[in-house]
Structure formats: structure tokens, C-alpha cells
């Protein structure tokens, strides 16, 4: 425990800027994965344990597209669409067969998907780790804001995730598609009775969740080594985020992700050997105080 370092940081503008932005960076990547997870759970009512796979596919496809085009925008688009495409195929041919199955069967199928896709990635890209490298536009010195160090790439990452969060919130709350999604989340039988193709809706929501995970993979690719199985590590934290925020809540995913990001960065200063445990402690406390999560509703 190093409370002196934590106290000094809290009273220093430069340290606060660096740590808060770092917390946002960790949080925003988690948000993009967790929001897909929570969206799928909210509508389809399945806990998608294979969600990390789509983050991995997004990262690998983004790297391949970047190597072919040297364009990071194309890489992000490729990563997101690649994960979305694979997600739609998985939903149409596998997932929809287990929507009404028991949780154990769902868990088994999701775990099988993780193993299959990890091996497929080994076959296509090889078992060794890969690195995409920082895109040319972001190979610039970091910014110094109030003395704190902020890399421009991470500012882009935070901004991109915030835009997606706002766009998603507007789409869910203000569009016909969003209203249908919310209605399906509340009562899918009634939505179906009104003549809406719920099967197609489920596919669209699953695809959207995978697209967001793929986008997170593309955003993470320049700074993380790519390896088969990379999706698993982020999946655990994403589950913590969704549990903290409340299963099915987009706002909850955002708040939960930022909370975890900040716990990690400030925890590393004050409790360097206890940072991982702090995340679980935060989750436990929130579950004790509010068992449905911060923004979760009863019955979801």
C-alpha cells in the first residue's frame, strides 16, 4: 500500500490529468466491448460468453486491412464490419438455436465458439503474437495538459468511444429501430405479435454488438499485441463492467467502464499489489448495495 503516492497524486493537477485520462482510456475500450454484451443480453437475453472472440476478430482484421491499405480509417471499418459479419453468421446458424436452451447449454456453446475461433485465428494468422504498430498520423509527441501527459492517439480513442456512446444512446432512444429494440427487450412476444420480425431484429442487435466489439479490437490493435485468445482477458473485465452497470443498460456500461478504468489507474498508485482485487471489491460492494447494478432494472 502506498497512500502517500495516491495522496500526492490527488493534490497534483498533472498527475490527476494523466491518471484520469488513463482511466478513461482503459474504460472506453471496456465500454465498447461491454455495451455490445449488455445490448445483446438486454434484447436476446443470452449472456454471450463468446463476445471476446469478436474483439479479437476485429483486431486481427483491422491489422490485416491496415497492412494492405496503410489506412487506419479503413482498418477500423474493416475490423468493425469483419466482426459484425462473423457475428451475424454465428447468430443465424448457431446462437438462435440456443436462445431457449438452459444456461448450461448456452455456456457450453459459447465456450466451444471461443475454442473454435481461437484455433481459426491460429490457422489464418499464425499462433505467434502480432503487432500492428501505431498509425502514421498518431506518431507524434504526447500533449502536456496542466503538466499531465496525454497521447493524441488516446484522445482520439476516447473521443471515438464517446461519439459511439452518444450515437448509440440517440439511436436507441430516438429512432424507430431503437424503440423496437427497447420494446423487444421489454416484451418480445408482444413485438412479434405486432408483425415485427423479431428473428431479424435479434440478428441485427447481435450484429451491432459484435460490430462494437470489433471496433474496440481495431482501436486497441495499435497498442496491444495480437494473439489468439486475446478476447478472453477483456471479456472478464467487460463482465465486471456489465454487472456493475446493470445487465442491459447502456448508461450502466459507460459508467461501469469508467469506474473500472479509474479504479485501475488510481489503484495502481495507492494499492499496487491489490489493483485487480479492487475491481472485484467494487463489484461486490455495488452488488450488495444494489443487486441489479447501478442502472439495472428489476427483472432484467
Amino acid at each position: 500500500m502506498d497512500l502517500t503516492a495516491l495522496t500526492e497524486c490527488l493534490s497534483s493537477a498533472s498527475c490527476m490529468v494523466t491518471q484520469v485520462t488513463s482511466g478513461f482510456i482503459i474504460g472506453m475500450l471496456l465500454f465498447l466491448v461491454a455495451v455490445g454484451l449488455t445490448l445483446i443480453f438486454g434484447v436476446v437475453k443470452i449472456v454471450n460468453f463468446s463476445h471476446g472472440v469478436f474483439y479479437m476478430i476485429g483486431a486481427y482484421v483491422a491489422m490485416t486491412v491496415y497492412q494492405a491499405t496503410n489506412s487506419y480509417a479503413a482498418a477500423l471499418l474493416g475490423g468493425a464490419l469483419g466482426a459484425c459479419g462473423v457475428g451475424i453468421i454465428v447468430e443465424r446458424f448457431i446462437m438462435r438455436r440456443i436462445y431457449s436452451a438452459n444456461v448450461l447449454m448456452q455456456l457450453l456453446v459459447c465456450y466451444a465458439l471461443v475454442l473454435i475461433f481461437d484455433d481459426l485465428v491460429k490457422v489464418v494468422w499464425g499462433p505467434e503474437f502480432k503487432a500492428m504498430g501505431m498509425p502514421e498520423a498518431f506518431r507524434v509527441p504526447p500533449l502536456f495538459i496542466f503538466g499531465g501527459v496525454v497521447p493524441p492517439f488516446y484522445l482520439f480513442l476516447i473521443a471515438a468511444a464517446l461519439v459511439i456512446a452518444v450515437g448509440l444512446a440517440l439511436a436507441i432512444n430516438g429512432t424507430r429501430f431503437g424503440k423496437t429494440v427497447r420494446a423487444a427487450a421489454h416484451n418480445p412476444t408482444m413485438v412479434s405479435a405486432l408483425g415485427i420480425n423479431t428473428g431479424l431484429l435479434f440478428t441485427a442487435v447481435f450484429g451491432l454488438g459484435c460490430l462494437l466489439a470489433g471496433l474496440a479490437g481495431g482501436l486497441a490493435a495499435p497498442v496491444r499485441s495480437l494473439t489468439p485468445g486475446m478476447g478472453f482477458s477483456i471479456l472478464i473485465e467487460s463482465f465486471i463492467v456489465t454487472v456493475i452497470g446493470g445487465m442491459g443498460s447502456i448508461t450502466g456500461a459507460l459508467v461501469g467502464a469508467l469506474l473500472i478504468g479509474l479504479v485501475r489507474t488510481f489503484g495502481a498508485l495507492g494499492f499496487p499489489l491489490f489493483t485487480e482485487a479492487l475491481m472485484y471489491m467494487a463489484m461486490a460492494i455495488i452488488l450488495i448495495v444494489k443487486p441489479t447494478g447501478l442502472f439495472g432494472r428489476e427483472g432484467t
Binding site: 494523466t18 488513463s22 503487432a131 501527459v149 492517439f153 496491444r224 489468439p228 485468445g229 495502481a268
Partner: protein
């Protein structure tokens, strides 16, 4: 009468046959010893972030196996190398090692695991009594701690304490010259990371007494995100940073730290940087990283080393790694030991291996010795230098004589209660 005689013979025969069958079934490697081919088990990491190193271990071992088989095999027996993926998980390493011996009938074991799994395989070797050569674990205690020592287990890999002595002397010289007194460390949180860092810091402080460690960060092995570790280092404002992160962990850390311009704010001493895997994986390698030699074909600067590195590259399309030379050397030791013992029996090989000195392209003076007292290699080339982002990557390596390493290692063993 004849019935009585028949009965007596039957009983004895039955007991003898039963004992033979029981012995054979419980020790399949004994049964397979009668076979012509000798199977050597090779548990290593063939998937995940370290797969490239595991593959390079298998490649170099296969390259040497082909040479040995072409020259008549191990004491006349062709080698069949059976490599299996342990996924870098200790429990899997132990399971795979047992399976290789009990199911596949391997008579020798080359444990090409990182330290996380090597200690687990070591216990399998203790349990089954098979000759085991550890080729990739650098954790000093594996061979230095008498409590862990086994007559049938050898280490054919560099050792953390040896690297730390040379690295400590090298870093202290720069620290004294440039007055670098505020240091930080960032190493993986497991036996190898903790031990090697403590050893490096110990020698650094010994030769540069003004040095103080102002902060330490211990990310987990295979951690995907180092942001909190990097920002903690930035806050501490050290003048120099030591790390024994390795493989994909090291390249991830460098990629993430580079965008914080970490390496322009402090000198970076990364013992595991000067390996072709890491050097080529980092897309924008910052110049001026200090590193120990892992495998560089220009160090030792001998034709034999360059030829071996080029031969590997010609065969596999990429340069070898630190794990490559260690596994190649292991096969060289086994080949030489089998010639001297004229046998592939594990106990006879172990007897010959103790104290065996062989000519090697990886030796500081052209030879490497399997030291008898702790059954680990000594005399291999160790150096430290500054990296550049293109070949030869480390233009100049600095080293210290092995006599100095032995002297400081002996002191270290006394301090640790190992001697």
C-alpha cells in the same frame, strides 16, 4: 510327481512373468528403451503470446536432431522429437510432460518451457526419475537452490543471476558516469520477474551505491494493458527504468509506452530486448534501449555463430531467438554425452553430462560447460549493449569476464543460503 514339478515351475514362472509385466507397464520408457528409435519429449509453448519463442525452440531442436540423425543418431539410435503445446500453463506443462513419458514412451525430456511451467515439469522429473533438460527457464533458483536440485535434471539455459551480474556492472558504469541515481523497475509478477529484477538491482547498487529504486511496478504475465503501469512510472519521474518483460509482453509495453514518450523521459534497460523476435515485432523501435544479448548472430562475433544463425534463417525464413540457441545447445550436449557414454540411458548420460565441456558457437570462448556442482551451463556469451532499429541491432556488446561472474555468483549463493 510330474504334476508336482509342473506346478512348482508354473508358480515361479508366473511370479517372474508377473513382475516383468508389472515393471514394464508401470515404466513404459523402460519397455521402449528396447526400441531402435529414441523418443525425446519436448513440452513447449506453441500458442499464445510466447508461441514464436516456443516454435523457435522446436525449430532449432529439429535442426540439430536432423544433424545428429544424419551422423548416426544418439549412440546409434535415431531421435524422434515429440513436441507438444503446453499453452504456457504450469498445470498443462506437467500434464503434457507426464503424457509424453507415460503414453508416448519418451526416454528423455527436453523441457522447453518458460519458468512458469519449468518448475511444474521439474516435479514430474523428480517423480518419474527421467533425465530432464530445462532449456528455457532462467530463474536462478531452479538450479541454484539445493532443495530443488535433482541428479536427473539439468539446465541448458542462461541464468538470471549471470545476466544480472553483467547487466549490473554495465548499468552501474553508465549510472556513475551520467549520475543516474533515481531508478524504477517494471517486471512481470512471477518467479523469473521477481528474482531477476532483485538480482539486477542488487548488482547495480553494489557498483553504483548512489542508486535508489523509487518505484516498482509488477504487471501480470501476459497482461494486455500497461497503461496504469506506464502512468505510474511517469508520475515517479525516474531517470532510468529496468525491465525483464519479454516476448509479446515487452513489445506491447514498448508500443504503449512509446506513445507516452516514456523512453525520451528516462533511459530504458530491458534485458530481453536484443532478441530478433522482439526487435522485429516492435514496429517503431525507439533507439538507445540498453539490452542484454539474447540471440544476436553478431555476438559472439565468430564465424561459427554467424554461420549457425544464417543456417537457421535459411531453413526457417527468420532469425533464431534466445530460446533457439539454448535448445540447439541442449541437443549438442546430449549428442556429446551419448558419444562418451556410448549409451542413451538417462543415468549414464547424467553422469557424463556433469562437468562436460563442449565446443559451441554460443560460448564466450568457443566452449560451454555443464557445471557439475549445480548442473547448469556456464561460459556462454553474455553481453549488454545499446540497440538500434536496424541490423545488426546491437552494434557493440560490452561484457565482463566469467571469472567475475563466478565470484559474484558465489557471494549471491551464500547470501541466499544456497551454498
Amino acid at each position: 510327481m510330474s504334476r508336482k514339478k509342473l506346478s512348482a515351475i508354473s508358480r515361479r514362472s508366473f511370479l517372474k512373468a508377473g513382475a516383468a509385466v508389472a515393471g514394464t507397464v508401470s515404466m513404459p520408457w523402460v519397455a521402449s528403451a528396447q526400441a531402435k528409435t529414441i523418443k525425446i519429449g519436448f513440452p513447449t509453448i506453441l500458442s499464445g503470446r510466447v508461441a514464436q519463442l516456443g516454435n523457435s525452440s522446436r525449430n532449432s531442436a529439429m535442426m540439430e536432431v536432423e544433424k545428429i540423425n544424419a551422423a548416426g543418431g544418439l549412440a546409434g539410435r535415431p531421435i524422434e522429437l515429440i513436441a507438444r503445446d503446453t499453452k504456457g500453463q504450469p498445470q498443462e506443462a506437467a500434464r503434457v510432460a507426464r503424457e509424453l513419458i507415460n503414453t508416448d514412451g519418451c526416454e528423455l525430456l527436453i523441457d522447453a518451457e518458460a519458468s512458469t511451467g519449468a518448475f511444474a515439469v521439474h516435479e514430474v522429473a523428480r517423480d518419474l526419475g527421467i533425465l530432464c533438460m530445462h532449456t528455457n527457464s532462467e530463474t536462478s533458483s531452479l538450479s541454484a537452490d539445493p532443495k530443488l536440485r535433482l541428479p536427473n535434471a539439468f539446465r541448458c539455459a542462461r541464468q538470471g543471476v549471470h545476466d544480472s551480474v553483467i547487466g549490473g556492472i554495465y548499468a552501474a558504469e553508465i549510472a556513475n558516469a551520467k549520475n543516474l541515481t533515481r531508478w524504477a523497475t517494471c517486471s512481470p509478477d512471477y518467479a523469473y520477474g521477481r528474482d531477476t529484477t532483485a538480482e539486477f538491482v542488487g548488482y547495480l547498487k553494489r557498483f553504483a551505491p548512489k542508486v535508489e529504486i523509487i518505484t516498482e511496478v509488477w504487471p501480470k504475465i501476459f497482461q494486455p494493458d500497461y497503461t496504469e503501469a506506464i502512468t505510474k512510472l511517469i508520475q515517479a519521474k525516474p531517470q532510468a527504468l529496468y525491465s525483464c518483460l519479454w516476448g509479446g509482453d515487452l513489445t506491447s509495453f514498448i508500443d504503449q509506452a512509446s506513445i507516452y514518450a516514456l523512453f525520451s523521459q528516462m533511459q530504458f534497460y530491458a534485458v530481453n530486448m536484443a532478441d530478433y523476435t522482439a526487435l522485429t515485432a516492435v514496429k517503431n523501435l525507439p533507439p538507445g534501449i540498453h539490452s542484454g544479448n539474447r540471440y544476436i548472430k553478431t555476438f559472439p562475433a565468430t564465424p561459427a555463430n554467424a554461420t549457425w544463425g544464417d543456417a537457421y534463417r535459411a531453413k526457417y525464413g527468420e532469425y533464431p531467438t534466445n530460446w533457439s540457441w539454448q535448445n540447439a545447445l541442449c541437443l549438442n550436449f546430449l549428442s556429446e554425452a551419448a558419444k562418451k557414454a556410448n549409451s542413451t540411458d538417462g543415468k549414464k548420460l547424467a553422469e557424463v553430462l556433469r562437468g562436460l565441456k563442449i565446443n559451441s558457437p554460443f560460448g564466450a570462448d568457443g566452449t560451454v560447460t555443464m557445471r557439475a556442482e549445480d548442473q547448469t551451463i556456464v561460459g556462454y556469451a553474455i553481453g549488454w549493449g545499446t540497440t538500434i532499429p536496424k541490423e545488426p541491432y546491437v552494434p557493440e556488446m560490452k561484457t565482463s569476464p566469467w571469472a567475475k561472474v563466478f565470484e559474484l555468483e558465489a557471494e549471491w549463493k551464500k547470501q541466499k543460503g544456497y551454498a
